[in-house]
C-alpha cells in the first residue's frame, strides 16, 4: 500500500491546502510540517502561478506574495524534500497550474517531484481532454481528476473511469474561497459521483469552518480546506502555532 492509499484507511480525511513560499519559504515549510504533524491526513502543497484563474482572492494574494518573495518550482520541490527530511510521512500532493510545469519540463518535473517525495498532482487547468500529455509521462504518479457540479453524467463516467488516488469534487461552481453555507445538493452530487467510481471522493471549494467540515465529512471521504487555512495562518502573528491549532481543530471535527 502506498502513502496515498494508506491515508484513506481512516475516513473522512482532512486535507488542508497551503502554498509554498507564503508568507516566506521557511515559514511555509514550518507551517506544512505543523499541519502534517497535528492532524492533516494529506496536504495539498501549492505551487504558485502568476495567473491562478481558478482561485479566489485569498489564494491569489498568498501566491502573489510567494512569487514576490521569489518562490520557484525548483525551490518548491526542494521544500518538499526538506519536509520529508523532517519526518513528514503523510501524502503530499502538488497543486499548481500547468504552465510552470511545462516551463520546467514535464518529464523532469514529474521525476524531480517523485524524487522529492511528492505523491501526485492536482492541476486545475488540465481537464480530461488535455491530460494525456501529462499522464503519458507520469508513470505511477497520479494526476488527481477533478469533477464539478456542472459535469454531466457522461463526463463523470469518463473522468471517474480512470481516476487514480481519489476524486477531487468541486462542491460549487466558482473559484476557491469560503462560502457561508454548504450546498443542499452536495449529498446528491456525491451520490452521482459514487455511481461511477469506487475511488474515494474528496470535496473542496467553499469549506471554511470545522462545522462545515463536519457536515461535508458525513457525506464525503475527505474534506479539502484551502482559503480558510491560508487566511487563518497567513494573518496570524504566530503562523506555526496557528497551523497546529487549525489542524487539530479540523481533525477533531472530522473524527
Amino acid at each position: 500500500m502506498n502513502r496515498l492509499e494508506s491515508a484513506f484507511q481512516n475516513k473522512p480525511i482532512f486535507m488542508p491546502y497551503f502554498p509554498l513560499g507564503y508568507p516566506d519559504l521557511e515559514t511555509s515549510i514550518d507551517v506544512i510540517e505543523a499541519l502534517a504533524k497535528n492532524g492533516a491526513d494529506l496536504i495539498e502543497v501549492g505551487l504558485s502561478f502568476s495567473d491562478p484563474l481558478a482561485d479566489g482572492p485569498v489564494i491569489q494574494q498568498a501566491t502573489q506574495v510567494a512569487l514576490e518573495k521569489g518562490i520557484t518550482v525548483k525551490k518548491s520541490l526542494e521544500a518538499v524534500k526538506e519536509l520529508r527530511k523532517r519526518g513528514v510521512t503523510i501524502p503530499l500532493i502538488l497543486m499548481g497550474y500547468y504552465n510552470p510545469m511545462l516551463a520546467y519540463g514535464l518529464e523532469k518535473f514529474i521525476r524531480d517531484a517523485k524524487e522529492a517525495g511528492a505523491d501526485g498532482f492536482i492541476i486545475p487547468d488540465l481537464p480530461l481532454e488535455e491530460a494525456e500529455e501529462f499522464t503519458s509521462v507520469a508513470g505511477d504518479m497520479p494526476l488527481i481528476q477533478m469533477l464539478a457540479p456542472t459535469s454531466p453524467d457522461e463526463r463523470m463516467e469518463a473522468i471517474a473511469r480512470n481516476a487514480k488516488g481519489f476524486i477531487y469534487l468541486v462542491s460549487v461552481t466558482g473559484v476557491t474561497g469560503e462560502r457561508r453555507e454548504i450546498s443542499n445538493d452536495l449529498g446528491s452530487l456525491i451520490n452521482r459521483v459514487r455511481a461511477h467510481t469506487s475511488a474515494p471522493v474528496c470535496v473542496g471549494f467553499g469549506i471554511g469552518t470545522p462545522e462545515q467540515a463536519q457536515q461535508v465529512g458525513q457525506l464525503a471521504d475527505g474534506v479539502i480546506v484551502g482559503s480558510a487555512c491560508v487566511k487563518m495562518i497567513g494573518s496570524s502573528p504566530k503562523p506555526v502555532e496557528t497551523a497546529k491549532q487549525f489542524a487539530a481543530e479540523f481533525r477533531g471535527a472530522l473524527r
Binding site: 502561478f49 502568476s50 495567473d51 491562478p52 484563474l53 481558478a54 479566489g56 491569489q60 502573489q64 512569487l67 520557484t72 518550482v73 525548483k74 500547468y98 504552465n99 510552470p100 510545469m101 511545462l102 516551463a103 520546467y104 486545475p124 487547468d125 488540465l126 481537464p127 480530461l128 481532454e129 488535455e130 477533478m146 469533477l147 464539478a148 457540479p149 456542472t150 459535469s151 454531466p152 463526463r155 469518463a158 473522468i159 468541486v170 461552481t173 466558482g174 473559484v175
Partner: protein, 397 residues
C-alpha cells in the same frame, strides 16, 4: 471526449480550463455548429452586419500616403468605420446572437483598449442582455472615453486591480466570473484566444473582413494584394482579414506585434519577436507562444496601445507562423505614434493606436516595393479613444 470542430491548430490551441467550464465549452461548440448550419441564424447575422454595423465597410485607396512613401499602392480596409469604431463589433454581435440561442441572459467580457468592451455593451443593449465588462485599472486610466461609453450603453465596468492591472488580468477576472455564474452567463471573449471553440468562433465571425476585402480588392484594384498587413494583439482583426487570403498563395500575410520600447528593452508585447522570453506555454485555456520568465510565470508586457498589450498570441497565428504562411514583425511605440500622425496628415483618418502598428509596417515596407504592387492594410479601429494617450506622448503642438 471528442470535439465537433478541430480543437487545435497544429500543436497549438486546446482546452486548458477547469472542469467546471468544460460543459459550457462543449455546449458553446454545439450551439455554434448548429447556428452556422442554420440559414435563419446566418441571415440574422448578415442583416445586423448590414443594418446595424454598416457593413460592408469601405475599401479606401490611400493615394497621398502611397505617393509619399513612393512604392506600393496602399489600400485601407476601413474597420474604423464599423459601428462602435472597430472590428470588435463583428464578433460581439455574432456571439451575442449565440447567447440568445443558448437562452442565457448575462454576458461577461474582458477589454484592453475598451473597444471589445464597447462592442459587447452595444450588442448587449441591442439584444437585451445584462453585461459586465472587466477592465484592468491601468487600461481604465488610459482609455477613459471608452469606459464612459460602456457605462452609457448600460454595462457595468468592473476595475481589475490584480496582477499587472491590464488585459491579462481582466481575462482572469472574466473567467472567474464565468466559472462562478456559468449556468446563466456566457463569456463573450473578444479575441482569437482562449480555449476551443473561441479561436474558431472569433475567426469565423471576423472572417467577414477578409471576404469583403478580397472582393473589394478585385473590384477596385482589379487584382489581389501582394501583401496584407494587420496588427496582432490576440489577433482577431488579423485572423479575420488573413482568412480571406490564406488560400491565395501569392498573397503575403504580415502580422505586426507591439514592439513597445523595443525588443531589447524587454518592455514590449512581441510574442514572436523575443526569442528569450517567448516560449510555447499555456495561458487562459490555450497553448501558444507566451511571454514568460524561466519559471513559467507570465511576463509583464508593455505597449502604448492597450489592445496589443498582452502576453500571448492567438493559437492560429502560432500555427501560421510555424508553417510560414504568415510572417510576424513588430513596431515600437515610437513607430506607431509616428505612423498615427502620418495617416492623420496624409489621409484625414485618425487610426487607433493598435492599427497604427500595422500602418508603421506599411511605412517600412511600401518603399521597398514597386509602384505596381499593392498592400492591403486592415485599419482595425479609429483613434478617438486614444487622443488622451497621444496628447501625452507627443505633446500639444
Amino acid at each position: 471526449m471528442t470535439t465537433l470542430l478541430p480543437h487545435k491548430f497544429g500543436p497549438y490551441g486546446g482546452q486548458f480550463v477547469p472542469e467546471t467550464l468544460m460543459p459550457a465549452l462543449i455546449e458553446l461548440e454545439r450551439e455554434f455548429v448548429s447556428a452556422r448550419n442554420d440559414p435563419a441564424f446566418n441571415a440574422e447575422f448578415d442583416k445586423l452586419m448590414a443594418s446595424f454595423v454598416g457593413r460592408p465597410t469601405p475599401l479606401t485607396y490611400a493615394k497621398r500616403l502611397s505617393e509619399k512613401l513612393g512604392g506600393a499602392q496602399i489600400y485601407l480596409k476601413r474597420e474604423d468605420l464599423a459601428h462602435t469604431g472597430a472590428h470588435k463589433i463583428n464578433n460581439a454581435l455574432g456571439q451575442a446572437l449565440l447567447v440568445k440561442r443558448m437562452g442565457k441572459k448575462r454576458i461577461v467580457a474582458e477589454t484592453g483598449a475598451g473597444q471589445h468592451g464597447v462592442a459587447s455593451a452595444t450588442a448587449a443593449a441591442l439584444l437585451g442582455l445584462e453585461c459586465v465588462v472587466y477592465m484592468g485599472s491601468v487600461d481604465i486610466a488610459r482609455q477613459e472615453p471608452n469606459v464612459f461609453r460602456m457605462k452609457l450603453l448600460g454595462a457595468e465596468v468592473r476595475p481589475v486591480e490584480s496582477g499587472t492591472k491590464t488585459l491579462k488580468d481582466a481575462i482572469n477576472e472574466a473567467i472567474r466570473d464565468w466559472v462562478t455564474n456559468v449556468r446563466d452567463t456566457h463569456y463573450l471573449l473578444g479575441s482569437a484566444l482562449g480555449p476551443h471553440p473561441y479561436p474558431t468562433i472569433v475567426r469565423e465571425f471576423q472572417s467577414v473582413i477578409g471576404r469583403e476585402a478580397r472582393e473589394q480588392m478585385l473590384m477596385d484594384a482589379g487584382r489581389l494584394p501582394d501583401t496584407v498587413i494587420a496588427c496582432v494583439g490576440g489577433g482577431s482583426n488579423a485572423i479575420g482579414v488573413f482568412s480571406g487570403f490564406v488560400n491565395d498563395e501569392s498573397v503575403e500575410l504580415i502580422g505586426v506585434e507591439a514592439g513597445g520600447s523595443g525588443i531589447a528593452s524587454g518592455k514590449h508585447a512581441a510574442r514572436f519577436g523575443d526569442a528569450e522570453k517567448a516560449r510555447v506555454g499555456v495561458i487562459h485555456g490555450t497553448r501558444t507562444y507566451v511571454l514568460q520568465d524561466e519559471d513559467g510565470q507570465i511576463a509583464e508586457t508593455h505597449s502604448v496601445s492597450a489592445g496589443l498589450d498582452y502576453a500571448a498570441v492567438g493559437p492560429e497565428h502560432a500555427m501560421l507562423r510555424d508553417n510560414e504562411r504568415a510572417f510576424y514583425t513588430s513596431a515600437t511605440d515610437e513607430e506607431a505614434l509616428s505612423a498615427f500622425q502620418m495617416l492623420c496628415h496624409t489621409e484625414g483618418i485618425i487610426p487607433a493606436l493598435e492599427s497604427s502598428h500595422a500602418v508603421a509596417e506599411v511605412i517600412k515596407k511600401a518603399p521597398t516595393m514597386r509602384k505596381d504592387q499593392v498592400i492591403l492594410v486592415n485599419l482595425s479601429g479609429r483613434g478617438d479613444k486614444d487622443l488622451n494617450t497621444v496628447i501625452k506622448e507627443i505633446g500639444n503642438w
